[in-house]
Amino acid sequence: MELKGAQIVFYYGLAFLVLIMAVSLIRARSAVHAALYLMGALIGVAGLFLLLHAEFVAGAQILIYVGGVVVLFIFVIMLVNVREEITEATRLFTRQEAVAWGLVGAMTIATVIALRREANLVPPAGALMEEPLALAEDTQRVGSALYTRAALPFEIASLLLLVAIVGSVILARTRRQEETFD
């Protein structure tokens, strides 16, 4: 479970990539920039999945999130024609952003200290799984678990996707289209 050699370099690079992209996302002025930062953050999370030997989930993350959800966001940005965000001139309390970042920093330091003390989260040296799974084996295990233990949620997910497709079509159609249909 412990990372070795270049894995450590990858870990720090990906962690900083994800966090910098996330901070840039919530500070971005234009929504298109935010979508691109979201894409960077999602790719970084997929890299962290690879470090944790979840190859299939990393691939699914790239395909579905980066290839699907972010593209959907960009299409919607194109449709709604967002202008740049204007911050209000009058605010009662203007330091709220600094206070929020300070709170996040303090909570992060507290979490790091608390988790570092938790020795149970570090597996003992003898308990390590010796050889990581091959790519095909990981996919095989995910697939077999998906079709045996998780078969019922899998079918429910297909129903959810059907409802999402029909619902989004009904929500997004115009009044003229509704009248034509009726």
Binding site: L19, L25, A41, L42, V57, L128, A164, A172
Partner: protein, 132 residues
């Protein structure tokens, strides 16, 4: 990870950089993944609370869901390394989270398009009526 990619560093375990990495900076267990996950979650919550644009609030929600996914994967890896579980159900949970997030994004953006057609705005503080 993959020996082909990282072989260069494993061949030089006695270099100063390699010893620094192995000794001081090496992530132990899953603690550091949990820290990244927590910081991602906190940034996502901050984005939801501080922005006015609905699109960016949606993207922050995606960040929060990704933080949860990272926790699932990290704990699956940990319990597998401990030998307690052989299945990777955390991966299954993560796949379902991705599916539900995709459906949620589709529905939310559909609502957003309908809203924009009626109100010509995506600022969340201008949308303060349940019926218009």
């Amino acid at each position: 990870m993959h020996e082909v990619v990282i072989g260069w560093a494993l061949q030089e375990p006695t270099s100063v950089f390699g010893r620094f990495l192995e000794g001081v900076a090496a992530p132990k267990g899953i603690v550091d993944f949990l820290v990244v996950s927590f910081m991602l979650f906190a940034i996502g919550v901050l984005g939801v609370l501080s922005r006015r644009n609905i699109l960016i609030i949606f993207m922050s929600i995606e960040l929060i869901l990704n933080a949860a996914n990272l926790n699932f994967i990290a704990f699956t890896r940990y319990w597998q390394a401990m030998g307690r579980i052989s299945e990777n159900m955390g991966h299954i949970f993560t796949i379902f989270v991705i599916v539900v997030a995709a459906a949620e994004a589709v529905i939310g953006l559909g609502i957003l398009i309908a809203l924009y057609r009626n109100r010509q705005t995506v600022a969340i503080d201008e949308i303060n009526l349940l019926k218009w």
